[in-house]
């Protein structure tokens, strides 16, 4: 466990979003997806920080993609999840599900 880099909750959400949108995950699209899923707004600089950090930790890889007129002719940096990232995500999910299974029902 100690070798696995720490994964914060925002980071986890963003990682899941990248996983959910193959071939189309870059700054603006991830930010939009995050806003529509969580209802919270996030700025482009903040998204960039998270994505770079995730890449540094080895959860993501990236390559340069195509440019559009909308972007003033600038290319996109497209992100993709690594097998390691996928493994960490699914481990997290398993741990959670085990815990949910043993938790008693809670009546609200």
């Amino acid at each position: 466990m100690s070798e696995t880099p720490n994964l914060g909750s925002l980071e986890e959400t963003i990682l899941l979003i990248v996983l959910a949108m193959p071939d189309e995950a870059y700054g603006v699209s991830v930010a939009e997806e995050y806003q529509s899923r969580s209802g919270k707004t996030i700025s482009i600089p903040a998204i960039h920080t998270v994505l770079t950090r995730l890449e540094k930790k080895g959860f993501l890889t990236s390559k340069m993609g195509g440019a559009t007129a909308d972007r003033g002719g600038r290319k996109k940096r497209l992100y993709e999840i690594t097998p390691f990232g996928y493994k960490v995500l699914s481990e997290l999910r398993e741990t959670r599900e085990t815990l949910w299974n043993i938790a008693p029902k809670f009546n609200i």
Binding site: Y26, G27, V28, A31, S43, I44, P45, H48, T49, T52, M64, A67, T68, D70, R71, G72, R74, K75, K76, R77
Partner: protein
């Protein structure tokens, strides 16, 4: 199409982004931001989109997205800059020392002044709704101008509450009183107020325990501060059930404890440790409820929809419109509570500064001293440029660009200011206790907040940059060929600037010399001034619980036979600040239109001899004449104002008491020297609270011991308090004394800094002229000839600076002196002596350097190279 081109992110933001952004990142960052911008402008409008874009560009301005070269400047180059800088420092120790010392002194002074000013500005800022809290004051128009009172009548409270929408809350308070609580046998004395319970809501003082409602209903209730609760109930009062219990005063009165409130912060002009409902005071002294009795203070909280001016406009006629019995032309106004400390000096009905003047004065002094230190720095650096021109030339020839030369010099100046800052921080740290002692403040380490440190650091860096900038630009601009040849003499503009700065420096120094001498002499004048009464060897003690007609007679008899006591008098007012006044007096021949307030004080027959006041005409009160209690003694000013040639024997009546004037005394100062002497009426009073004791010469200690001994017997419940009249007199001018001391120190600093600068310049100039001097000597010039050559230039500069300084200092100082009704004259000799001091200092500095240069053997000076 037109539409399309119009919608684009701000050009400058884009250019800024392209300037700083690392090329590997520009695609994704600019692309994402542009895309986002287009989406935003569609959904949220162009304005928001542009705003967002700019914010994001600024947020991307962080190390991770910067170009490598911009923040990762080659470490080797920086190391080289530092190495060269330290070599220069080492090589020119004198220059480095002069610079660092001058700057460190300047920064230290400014830091201290900053601390002092910050502490002054903290006063009365503690309440949550500070901008709403006001103090009601009254302007009383009189025949010879308006006087501004601090007291207002009690019925005003109800009128303000009911009739004026601008006023939300009103509290009446007295001027403070002592209470003694009994806790078993122990007696606890503390100071507080009789005040309307709304005082807590006005000042937003929260109860720690209990509630204030009880106080509205029950006038025998009390609220105490946390500090007093600790003294009365012990450290663990929070866990005790104390609210609703009875506390007992030393006279046996029972008061219900309604609440315990938060302690009032130290930086407050209003302090109290307990509050008793004002109604309790009304029950004891019903006459306070009269419109004519301007005896208490009124605090208000104004409605948030008003400000100070509009609220004042709304309520200023409250007394005129509602006083039922007589016509009262008092014009009320609201003084913000926050201004009570610094802006509290009213002249003729309008604000005329106060302590804020000293705050401003010292702030200006701080800036000037820093300026002096920076000027030294600039002067020495540019002067030195001549010497370093070869270095700069070689660097340029070797391929150094302007930028790197500039950086080199700026790094040097930053290092010097950095060192100076470190030294001055240490100085401030070690001198802080002395500073607190001097100023009577208790500034501690808590001032060293991150904010303060950042501010100071930012400031020092700016100072370093600014003072390094000119030399850096100058050196970098130099033509390398000329620099290498060593031709720099022709640079006139540079020399002119340097001369101008020296003149400026010495002008400031001269102004400060004149200023500190004047302040010092005015203070001396105050101390030595004969104020018309003898305040030496007089002790003020208090009646306490003694009754005048019973215990006090015994007390006086016993005291007069005890060691150290010469005479004993009583009065109902402090002889140094008589506060009671009235416009009531009438006499035969009084003009019915006449309007003027007369000060009134109650005395006994011993008062005049004890204070050694001179009787000009008539006689003193007589112990044995029962009728004298109806008679009056007046001062000369009073006689003049009443227009009486032979006042003795004239009828005088006020406060429903018809009597005669039996004597006239010479004027004595019963207020500070800031104000002229007012008319005063002395009456024979049998309800005094203050005892004035004249001690035998040199036996003050014995007298105090005697007083204390009797105090224990006659006032067992109270703490023994006494004041020395002359000490109190000096304390009145505390801020003047402080300013006089501070200006003295700062003047010394200014002199040292300016002289250091001049010393540096002169030593430099003589160094440059070594060969010239050598040749002159060989050709037969005498030492005095050479001295003349060296000193002429500087003497002229200093004389110009004196000429500039005199009129400026005259205007500034006359303005300050005008704050005193009794002042010294600004004589021509003052300016002459300040000028002589400046010239002498210059001569000493030049002489030392010049003689050394002039005595040098020309063989040595001509040999090098």
């Amino acid at each position: 199409m037109q539409q399309q081109t119009n919608i684009s992110p701000p050009d400058w933001a884009n250019r800024f982004l392209e300037w700083y952004c690392h090329p590997n990142l520009i695609d994704e960052i600019q692309g994402d931001l542009t895309e986002q911008f287009h989406k935003n402008s569609k959904n949220k409008g162009q304005l928001k989109a542009r705003f967002r874009f700019i914010i994001d560009v600024i947020r991307f301005f962080r190390p991770s997205s910067l170009k490598q070269t911009q923040y990762f400047m080659n470490l080797d180059i920086i190391a080289n800059y530092l190495k060269v800088a330290f070599r220069v420092f080492k090589k020119e120790k004198g220059y480095t020392f002069t610079n660092i010392t001058g700057l460190a002194l300047g920064i230290t002074c400014s830091l201290f002044i900053y601390l002092w000013v910050q502490d002054e500005l903290k006063y009365n800022q503690w309440s949550d709704d500070n901008e709403l809290i006001h103090y009601v004051r009254a302007n009383m128009p009189q025949d010879d101008g308006t006087v501004t009172w601090e007291s207002t009548p009690y019925p005003l409270k109800a009128v303000l509450e009911e009739k004026y929408p601008s006023i939300d809350l009103v509290a009446a308070t007295n001027w403070g009183s002592d209470i003694i609580l009994k806790k078993g046998e122990e007696k606890i004395q503390s100071r507080g107020l009789f005040a309307s319970p709304s005082i807590f809501e006005i000042f937003s003082i929260k109860p720690v325990k209990g509630a204030y409602e009880e106080m509205e209903k029950n006038e025998t209730s009390i609220a105490i501060s946390e500090k007093m609760a600790t003294r009365y109930f012990g450290e663990d009062w929070r866990s005790q059930d104390v609210i609703g219990t009875m506390v007992t005063t030393h006279k046996g009165n029972q008061l219900t404890l309604a609440a315990i409130f938060e302690d009032i912060p130290r930086h407050s002009t209003m302090k109290f440790d307990y509050i008793i409902p004002f109604k309790a005071r009304l029950a004891n002294s019903p006459w306070i409820a009269h419109w004519g009795n301007y005896s208490n203070r009124t605090f208000v909280k104004i409605n948030p929809s008003y400000n100070t001016e509009t609220a004042t406009a709304n309520m200023q006629k409250a007394v005129q419109e509602h006083r039922p019995d007589v016509e009262d032309n008092a014009i009320l106004f609201l003084q913000p509570f926050a201004d009570r400390y610094l802006k509290n000096n009213y002249v003729n009905g309008s604000l005329a500064g106060g302590r804020i003047d000293y705050v401003r004065l010292l702030s200006v002094a701080a800036i000037l001293i820093l300026l002096l230190a920076s000027i030294n720095f600039i002067n020495l650096s540019t002067a030195r440029a001549a010497k370093r021109s070869k270095e700069a030339g070689v660097r340029k020839v070797m391929g150094a660009v302007r930028q790197s030369l500039r950086t080199q010099f700026i790094v040097e100046s930053l290092l010097i200011t950095g060192f100076a800052f470190i030294i001055s921080s240490l100085l401030v740290y070690f001198l802080l206790p002395y500073f607190n002692f001097l100023t009577g403040k208790s500034v501690g380490v808590e001032v060293l907040t991150l904010e303060f440190v950042m501010l100071a650091l930012g400031f020092v860096l700016t100072l370093g940059l600014l003072s390094g900038l000119y030399p850096a630009l100058y050196m970098a601009r130099m033509d390398p060929i000329r620099a290498l040849k060593g031709i720099l003499k022709g640079d006139r503009s540079n020399q002119l600037l340097r001369k101008g700065l020296v003149v400026f420096q010495f002008a400031i120094t001269t102004i400060m010399i004149v200023g500190s001498i004047t302040v010092y002499r005015q203070i001396q004048y105050i101390f030595e001034k004969n104020t018309g009464m003898d305040r030496e060897n007089v002790i003020k003690a208090y009646m306490g619980d003694m009754e005048y007609s019973k215990d006090f007679q015994v007390y006086r008899n016993r005291l007069s036979n005890m060691p150290g006591i010469q005479s004993i008098a009583t009065t109902d007012q402090d002889p140094l600040s008589v506060g009671n006044s009235t416009s009531d007096p009438s006499w035969p021949g009084k003009n019915p239109e006449f309007e003027k307030h007369f000060y009134v004080t109650g005395i006994d027959p011993n008062y005049i001899p004890t204070l050694d006041i001179k009787l000009k005409d008539g006689r003193n009160f007589d112990w044995d004449l029962a009728t004298d209690t109806a008679n009056y003694i007046i001062n000369e000013t009073c006689a003049k104002i009443m227009g009486l040639e032979n006042p003795v024997g004239t009828d005088l009546s006020f406060w429903e008491n018809d009597g005669k004037i039996i004597g006239v005394i010479e004027d004595f100062h019963f207020h500070s020297l800031h104000t002229p002497i007012e008319p005063l009426i002395l009456r024979y009073d049998k309800e005094p609270w203050m005892i004035l004791v004249k001690t035998k010469m040199g036996e003050t200690k014995e007298a105090i011991a005697s007083l204390e001994e009797l105090h224990k017997e006659f006032n067992p419940a109270r703490n023994f308090n006494f004041d020395l009249l002359d000490e109190q007199y000096n304390n009145r001018y505390k801020s003047e004394i402080l300013v006089s001391k501070l200006t003295l120190y700062f003047t010394a600093m200014a002199i040292i800094i300016s002289c250091l600068g001049l010393l540096g310049l002169v030593s430099f100039a003589t160094q440059l002229k070594t060969k010239e001097i050598g040749i002159r000597k060989v050709l037969g010039a005498s030492v005095s000839n050479i001295l003349g050559i060296i000193s002429k230039e500087y003497l002229i500069m200093v004389i110009i600076s004196i000429v500039v300084a005199c009129p400026i200092s005259y205007v500034v100082l006359q303005d300050w002196l005008n704050g005193f009704a009794y002042q010294i004259d600004l004589s021509i000799w003052l300016f002459v002596s300040a000028g002589i001091v400046s010239v002498l200092l210059t001569l000493i500095i030049i002489g030392e350097q010049g003689i050394r240069a002039a005595l040098r053997n020309p063989v040595e000076s001509l040999r090098d190279e």
